[in-house]
Assembly symmetry: C2
Homo-oligomer: 413 residues x 2
């Protein structure tokens, strides 16, 4: 008898019809003899509706009150699913984040889980009850409702799976797994059978929106096997798990593309010690994440310094950089929004050499100029002209053999 945490997202519980489907899926796992804990999001659209109400009430809604408001969405779906299951003669019970003991800090609207007691959950499971738990929410030490930020229900599910030492945490969503690339961009993309936590983290933070980043970190930390699967069709999904030998057999697991970047170049920076700190200190203080940084030594002891920031932060970063540039007597500041980042990800890079040079070669063959490069142990990213992003992704996907079913059991179908 396995203990399985099943999490269903907003579109999977978007209306009563879909809640019936979830009930059937839960009932099936129950009849198959598994112990099931269900974690739900709010109905799709409900959170947006509540946010809109809040902004109609007042321009800058208080965050504690926002949590009181938003946490209602999940209570609605857990009650509906629990009554649906009970109507089928299945002993289900809804529980709030508080009731299952998800204790967080007090950072309202983006709280972090401090601990999970799960006492009441264990008790329910011992009594043969199927607990239906509200995702996205917890309480702080003052017993006030908190929420875990966008995608927080994934985190709730993984945290409960960790606390219960569940055999698996299945994230049911509207896609059937993690792909070697975005299938909308790369039609030849294949579903990956098994992916390492680290790879998934890189995928998630680089724009593959399947799993919330913090939930992957949490799963890795507590070694929770997470499966991503479709709530709308039957079949295999993607298992996110510890790195193993199979995974290392393949150099590149996936290709990602990210358009949410902008490039800032400070031209003619006097090359003196401490200059970098004077530039990036104020940027960090404004909570702007700088991603890549490159420095080109020019003549006259002047260098050009380029770096990327999230496109959404550009408006915030620009005046700061212009101020600093003036202070340090740089020549000028230039900004480019029309860039994109293409990345190759794979734990196999640790043992396979030549991935980077092959990547540069492929891009060069396609006539794509590389503006910036950054590498980590399991990732290589190149910043390129935005208009070449799709071409770059497709070429790399093909060149690294991802169009075919690769060796090992990394990829499905």
């Amino acid at each position: 008898m396995a203990l399985i945490v099943q999490k269903y997202g907003g579109t999977s519980v978007g209306n009563i019809e879909r809640i019936h489907n979830v009930a059937e899926r839960v009932a099936r796992a129950h009849r198959a003899g598994d112990q099931v804990v269900v974690v739900l999001s709010a109905m799709s659209g409900e959170t947006d509706r509540l946010v809109k109400l809040a902004h109609e009430a007042t321009p800058m809604p208080d965050e504690r009150e926002m949590d009181m408001l938003l946490s209602t969405g999940e209570r609605v779906t857990i009650a509906l699913l629990a009554m649906d299951l009970r109507g089928r003669g299945i002993n289900a019970r809804s529980f709030t984040g508080r009731q299952v003991g998800i204790i967080t800090d007090s950072a309202h609207t983006k709280a972090r889980i401090a601990r999970v007691t799960a006492d009441r959950l264990r008790e329910a499971l011992d009594q043969g009850v199927i607990p239906v738990v509200a995702g996205f929410q917890g309480i702080n030490e003052q017993s006030d409702v908190t929420t875990l930020g966008r995608g927080g229900s994934d985190l709730s599910a993984v945290a409960l799976a960790a606390a219960l030492k569940a055999d698996r945490c299945i994230i049911f969503t509207d896609v059937d797994g993690v792909y070697t690339a975005d299938p909308n961009v790369v039609p030849a993309a294949k579903r990956i059978d098994k992916i390492a936590y680290e790879e998934m983290l890189e995928m998630a933070s680089l724009g593959a929106k399947v799993l919330q980043t913090r939930s992957v970190e949490f799963a890795a930390k507590f070694n929770v096997p997470v499966e991503v699967n479709s709530s709308f069709k039957e079949g295999k999904g993607t298992l996110v798990t510890r790195e193993d030998a199979d995974m290392e057999a393949v150099a590149v697991a996936g290709v990602t593309g990210d358009r949410n970047q902008a490039k800032i170049t400070i031209v003619g920076v006097p090359d003196k010690p401490g200059i970098a700190a004077r530039i990036f200190g104020p940027v960090a203080q404004a909570h702007v994440n700088v991603d890549m940084i490159i420095q080109n030594m020019g003549q006259d002891a002047l260098t050009d310094l380029s770096f990327t920031v999230p496109r959404a932060d550009l408006r915030k970063a620009t005046p700061i950089i212009q101020g600093v540039a003036k202070e340090i007597e740089a020549k000028s500041v230039s900004i480019t929004e029309a860039i994109a980042k293409v990345s190759l990800i794979g734990v196999g890079m640790r043992s396979h050499s030549g991935v980077a040079s092959k990547m540069f070669e492929v891009l060069s063959r396609e006539g794509i100029n590389i503006l910036m490069i950054s590498t980590s142990e399991i990732k290589i990213s190149c910043v390129i002209d935005e208009k070449y992003l799709e071409l770059a992704m497709r070429s790399l996907h093909s060149a690294f053999g991802l169009d075919q079913v690769p060796q090992g059991d990394r990829s499905g179908k």
Copy 2:
């Protein structure tokens, strides 16, 4: 500095515009120097929407799950009002039924309040915070959410006022008080300035839907002065309070009409001891409330036994009565739905004689036949043909001097 509990019903918080109005009203009381505790219902229509969802999910929704579902409505309004107030620079905070310590039994969907701790509420008030509390909800000893039944927010407000020993509990609603009769039926009806708990109870249970009956009982028990007032306009309301000399000066405080009754007559009942128990035992077991009973002695040791039941219970009661009638060898059973009950209410009846005879005289003068009569210390009710109800109410209202502003300060303008 007075401590005031203000309760706003569903229509008073039915949209953001109205929530703004409530915020302004609360802010005004706060600026005037009062300590204010606000209790809210769900937005009008929201509870119905959730009930509909539940019945779409499953035909007979589980009651614990129903409470989980329904209790979300009040959480939405308290969050919205609290953020609205905070947006105006007023230190308000939302609290759930659990957070203010409304502890109930486990009778889900119709729970009874066991005790109110209100610790967190006192703490908030001491800190100058305006607590905005979710009405209608509490938790049981297992820490599961419960609800107090329709109109339960009135009860929440009165219970909190009792726990805090508040100076007044104001129920803001869509009418500006309690009237001497339903103004839709009796255009000359006047708002009553002050009414005794007992009178209000009779009014409430006889069909004046201004205040939930249990909340009046609770107010009487803990001597909480309750004011009924309009949330849409300014002015005096009705104060529900302890009986006093002013009230006794007037024989009749109000006239009520009730159409939700049906009359069942068992014809030709053998007049033997124990017959009444054999008839009414099974009716009580089916949870049908029998209101009035009369017995007419006929010839041959046979009597006719008539009684009234709520019209909604008629379908449930009829087969039971037909079964019993057969068993006790009564002649037949006849059922009349087209009846109504007109009542006069007033604590002054205790000291004024002749109210009953005057009532019969007025009805007789109008050619209205009295089918049944029942009296209590402060009430006289007559069952009449339904079609005469409005006529009866208007005639009695006028005959007992309620069309004029009466002596004492019982009635307003």
